[in-house]
């Protein structure tokens, strides 16, 4: 009993008082958001949900022309159908999620106190399948992106609202994700932040680099270069390979932590998924 109390006290202490010099998630979020608001004056917070199109008028008009009849329409319909199709045992995806899985995307990823893990939406879609006697879907694209895309679409207009609970394990996930974001990787020795924070709005060859603020609102996205929908972690893998680093495992701890940090940083911006990107 005494030991348990000490542990509880230590946990509270750790959670309540971050190490000296270390910013709290709240402080990080404010600084992160302020950075972009200052870098792109006049762009309202919610516009960052449109990625590079918030800051590049030429690309935006071409994007808007494509969104007139979006190329992901078919996959979105398929996702809705799959979502509502019962498993062999008669249950559906709705049985695994709060509110039947409708309008919940803005809370993903979240810290699950029971398992001590950060859970992404795609991860829980597959956990739901396994729980109901089905095989997990292959990650990143295809049916999983279609289902996730449909679920995300039911949250459109709802602001991202990721919580970092006062739990040292949750903070550890957050810190791990933050470290991923700022860690230089690959032969080009570049971090996520080098392109999408330090150089957001600058060009790499002909391409305008998108701000990291707001990225997670519109995933899964249909990238014209993919020709289909893909998850945020598929994009992480692609980004890492572009700086000539090996991509981490899909839904592994590295990318889940990164998604946790990255989405938390975009809190307050409305979900607007799926969307089309170049």
């Amino acid at each position: 009993m005494k030991k348990m109390l000490t542990m509880a006290a230590a946990v509270t202490l750790l959670a309540g008082m971050p190490l000296a010099g270390q910013a709290t998630p709240e402080q990080d979020l404010k600084a992160f958001r302020d950075f972009y608001m200052k870098r792109f004056p006049g762009v309202p917070l919610n516009e960052f949900g449109n990625g590079v199109y918030a800051i590049d008028a030429d690309a935006r008009s071409s994007w808007e022309a494509i969104e007139e009849f979006p190329p992901y329409d078919d996959e979105l319909e398929k996702g809705k159908k799959l979502f509502n199709t019962p498993f062999a045992n008669g249950k559906t995806y709705a049985s695994c999620f709060r509110n039947g899985g409708i309008g919940i995307r803005q809370n993903y990823p979240y810290f699950d106190a029971k398992s001590g893990e950060v859970k992404t939406l795609e991860q829980e879609i597959n956990e739901c399948r396994v729980k109901n006697g089905e095989k997990p879907l292959p990650g990143k694209k295809g049916d999983i992106a279609a289902i996730s895309g449909y679920m995300a679409s039911t949250s459109n207009g709802k602001a991202l609202n990721i919580k970092i609970p006062n739990d040292p394990r949750a903070l550890a996930w957050y810190e791990k994700g933050k470290a991923q974001f700022y860690m230089k990787r690959g032969q080009l020795n570049m971090s996520c932040a080098n392109c999408h924070k330090d150089n957001a709005g600058n060009r790499v060859r002909s391409e305008v680099l998108s701000p990291a603020l707001g990225h997670p609102t519109h995933f899964p996205v249909h990238r014209l270069s993919w020709g289909n929908l893909g998850t945020l972690q598929r994009r992480y893998g692609g980004c890492n390979e572009q700086v000539r680093a090996k991509a981490f495992a899909d839904q592994g701890p590295e990318y889940r932590a990164l998604e946790y940090f990255h989405t938390y940083m975009s809190n307050g911006i409305n979900v607007n998924a799926p969307s089309t990107r170049k």
């Binding site: 990625g51 590079v52 030429d58 690309a59 008009s61 071409s62 994007w63 022309a65 494509i66 007139e68 190329p71 392109c195 999408h196 790499v204 060859r205 002909s206 391409e207 680099l209 998108s210 990225h215 996205v221 990238r223 014209l224 270069s225 994009r235 692609g238 980004c239 572009q242 990107r277 170049k278």
Partner: protein, 154 residues
């Protein structure tokens, strides 16, 4: 003999035009009219000659092309061609840097507006050229679109 062939040709093409105008043709029949020589032409001149029997077009401000300065992706370049010319017969879209420049030819009925939007492939940086046939004359406009091979975009 030559004259007879000529007459036959004229009759045949006008019959197609009348039937299409009246909405009597199904696509299977119209397919026969697909101008192979125009679409397979490797140069702008050949393509225009194949499509219209002439390569001479008059540049005009009465045609507007909406296309990006820099293509997001060369495989999907949104293009809108609008015109305030009247007596419209057709709007054609070409990309002068493509292996076969002619992309699309739209034939408009009298009650159809002078504006079409579509998405085209562009192999490299070049001009999107719009050719409008109006009152039997050919008019054109162009806009450069830069195409690069890239990977970013979140």
């Amino acid at each position: 003999m030559k004259r007879r062939v000529f007459l036959k040709g004229t009759l045949a093409s006008s019959a197609v035009a009348v039937a299409v105008g009246a909405g009597l043709l199904n696509p299977r029949q119209v397919l026969a009219a697909w101008p192979k020589s125009a679409f397979e032409a490797k140069s702008m001149q050949e393509a225009l000659n194949g499509a219209f029997g002439s390569e001479l077009t008059e540049p005009t401000d009465a045609i507007q092309i909406k296309a990006p300065d820099i293509a997001e992706n060369g495989a999907v370049v949104p293009v809108t061609v609008s015109t305030n010319l009247t007596n419209l017969e057709s709007i054609s879209i070409l990309a002068d840097g493509n292996p076969t420049p002619l992309a699309a030819n739209f034939m408009l009925a009298a009650n159809t507006a002078g504006s079409v939007s579509t998405r085209i492939k562009m192999g490299k940086t070049s001009n999107v050229v719009a050719v409008v046939k109006s009152g039997g004359k050919l008019y054109s406009a162009r806009k450069e679109v830069k195409v690069t091979i890239g990977g970013c975009g979140g």
